[in-house]
Subunit: 462 residues, 2 copies
């Protein structure tokens, strides 16, 4: 059987047109940081900013053009970042990302270059540093800390889509000063809090030759192992093209060009972000898809920030499970938005749902019905009799690249091999959901095409 | 003799066209705050802002359009506001005004509404409050404290001549937020530091119905006895039309309309600010002229802010004396700009000049050669024999208004009355300098015209 699969492999012709099979050195592979990010599978984005304290629902369009005249509304009386991270961990997150600045421009730390920060507050006598609290809590609970820096919008300083309004010399100098300030913040954030798992410039940090600050050299210098997302020069992963918390199938980890929200909009906006969703198996950049969505996405909700009286927006468990299958199960890392409230705590209902969800994922995938061992010479699994299964999990060893291009999974049912799943991309993880549980004596994977020797790491049924 | 003057008075016809002599109630009079301001005669403006620390000379045009990207250059290692106020007092100042904000937008205190303030500094661990230090020093040395709030320009927030650049909805909201912030700062400044002698909005605070914040009600509410300078609604005094530290003669305390730099520019800009310089004896508003100039105004200098290596700009003593005569001696209050350096001290050479100047003024006017007493029924002074004099000082009791419209001073020299000075305005103080010292047996003042009974308070020769 094993040899049979190798026949398929041998006839692969690279879609890029290369006549021969790729050599090892041709194969795109993730960086160590990208690999860790994909293996993490789930992270949380914790959004916290002045609007949480405004007493009315967050409205992004308004928020972007309405400066907060009183930053001192920021006063979380029960602030507890341990509780945030415990909630994230209960949901299965392996990393957490905090909005150090979002679109108001207010910064959740002691910046020496951005006065519109916690220094400006009466809260904690102007000495608060939620970034430090957050990082400390992450380390305490074994969660990797990441930071989100919003520089595309800054309602306080009058920045709209990276730009200062106007064409005067004054506007030009304010633009230069803003770039300078952003570089200063990135330097502070990259040097004060130890190793960061990732840094996220929402909407990208634009092109440093245009309105973007020159932040890549700063991150590279001080945080060489940090995931960088993203500017016109570099993106260690890509947005998955929706805020549904899922990507369609297939979603390849490779992409044709360096992705930035702020660049090549014609291409990436086409067909409702189709290219972001699918990636491209012939892409020249390793740039896997992030699936992102807020936990509060139900009953009309889509809340990256906490709003008063909207506990009913918390997704039900089945929706969370679907999100898991449609992201992690589609070779994409899921980043779930969670929302500390105006007390400074993740609300109870959210904590409860995260816990249920984390428990549920763990329970479903606790013990496979059967699984293949890398020691096996072929991709066949014998199923214990009387066991039913409804999920197939496939994983490539993506440290060696994403090699599989097409596959089928067949089940031996009453002595007859039947295809129960057909697919293309496997990548870090493919979870195939069957329409209904089945019984079979054995299951086998056929890799039909691949760019080089497939390097499978896992094949199991649940 | 006395009756003779009354003949002149009796034939006065008000220039405004009123047929009869003004009644007491018709006569414009200063408020208590204005009276105190005119009686003070000399104040200082202490300018202190980020440019002091930039290492290069202050350039106002550049400063207005170039945000400071690093406020932490502000780090005066020997800051001593006592020393500032002692220097001001040595120069004869009775009040001192501090630039709480100038054109960078940086605020020298712990603002809760303007994050670009001392909270943003590492200096004094972000807890510094130079406004408080300054006010405390003023009170310690018996100097009246005033504050200067620059809101017309704010390079940090992108405010140019009161305005946010652009026409977008965002720009409109930023404009509204800026007005709101300015009102917040004025509220803070009017409520935190006890009674203020004056509040100075440089370039005016514009019209609240346009781009100006609505600050008059705030000042009126919290500082009802504070001199207000100025917006489109109110000005308790006026700029004297130059930064020479002098006004021409005559300079009346009354003015035809509420003065604002930002309003009625056609009228006030005409003839090199002629109307600001002279005022108008028929003006409907009591609004005496301020003469302002920096102490460092020599050899090409005109330095409201300290610059490195420019000690030679400090005015020589004779220029300071001329300034005194051309301001205080012309019925105008002199505000002298003094400049703490990057250590936080008024430089030694400035302190020395202020001391020399203060001593010199005191010495010149310590003891009159002769002076009239209000108990005298006419305005004649007998001069002790062999005494020479070169200066004539006249003062009206301006609490009762500025009544004199024309006068002559005559000296009896060898039995013959000769006119030695002719003038129009007296107001708070007129100092007439004779071309050379003279001897005379007596000197008399003839008030030729006035709007009502003259109310002289002082007539002396030195």
């Amino acid at each position: 059987m094993f040899k049979k699969y190798w026949i398929f492999v041998a006839i692969v012709v690279s879609v890029s047109g290369a006549a021969a099979q790729n050599t090892q050195s041709d194969i795109l592979k993730p960086s160590a940081a990208q690999l860790a990010w994909q293996k993490a599978e789930i992270g949380v984005l914790i959004s916290y900013d002045l609007p949480v304290f405004q007493g009315t629902p967050y409205n992004q369009a308004q928020n972007r053009i309405t400066p907060f005249t009183n930053a001192n509304i920021f006063n979380p009386t029960k602030l507890n970042t341990d509780q945030w991270i415990q909630a994230a961990k209960a949901g299965g997150a392996k990393f957490a990302v905090l909005t150090v600045t979002h679109e108001t421009g207010f910064a959740l730390y002691q910046s020496d270059v951005n006065p519109y920060c916690m220094k400006a507050l009466t809260f904690q006598n102007g000495k608060g540093d939620i970034v430090r609290d957050f990082v400390n809590s992450c380390r305490k609970y074994g969660i990797e800390p990441g930071i989100y820096v919003g520089i595309r919008w800054n309602s306080y300083l009058g920045i709209h889509d990276f730009k200062v309004e106007g064409t005067s010399e004054f506007a030009k100098r304010r633009q230069a000063a803003y770039k300078n300030m952003c570089e200063g913040m990135v330097t502070e954030l990259c040097t004060r809090y130890g190793n960061l798992f990732m840094i996220w410039f929402d909407g990208g940090a634009d092109d440093p030759s245009k309105n973007g600050p020159n932040i890549l050299p700063i991150v590279t210098k001080y945080q060489p192992n940090c995931l960088f997302y993203h500017n016109a020069q570099k993106a260690d992963f890509r947005w998955g093209g929706s805020e549904s918390g899922t990507v369609p199938y297939p979603s390849w980890s490779t992409f044709p060009f360096v992705f930035s929200h702020a660049a090549r909009q014609d291409t990436i906006f086409a067909n409702n972000f189709a290219l972001l969703k699918t990636g491209s198996p012939t892409g020249k950049y390793w740039m896997p898809a992030m699936s992102d969505a807020p936990l509060r996405g139900h009953k009309g909700g889509h809340d990256w920030f906490w709003n008063p009286n909207e506990d009913h927006h918390v997704n039900p468990l089945d929706k969370m499970m679907s999100m898991y299958y449609g992201s992690v199960g589609h070779n994409s890392t899921l980043i779930l938005g969670i929302t500390p409230d105006n007390r400074g705590l993740i609300p109870n209902v959210d904590v409860q749902r995260l816990t249920e969800w984390g428990d549920s994922v763990k329970k479903v995938f606790k013990t496979p019905i059967a699984n293949w061992s890398t020691k096996n010479k072929d991709y066949t699994i014998n199923i214990p009799s009387q066991k039913v299964f409804s999920k197939i999990v496939l994983q490539e060893n993506i440290q060696e690249g994403e090699r599989v291009r097409s596959f089928v999974v067949e089940a031996n049912i009453n002595g007859e091999w039947k295809i129960i799943k057909e697919g293309s991309c496997i990548g870090h993880k493919y979870i195939g959901l069957l329409e209904k549980p089945i019984t079979a004596s054995s299951v086998r994977l056929k890799i039909l095409t691949s760019t080089a020797n497939p390097m499978m790491q896992n094949f199991a049924v649940y």
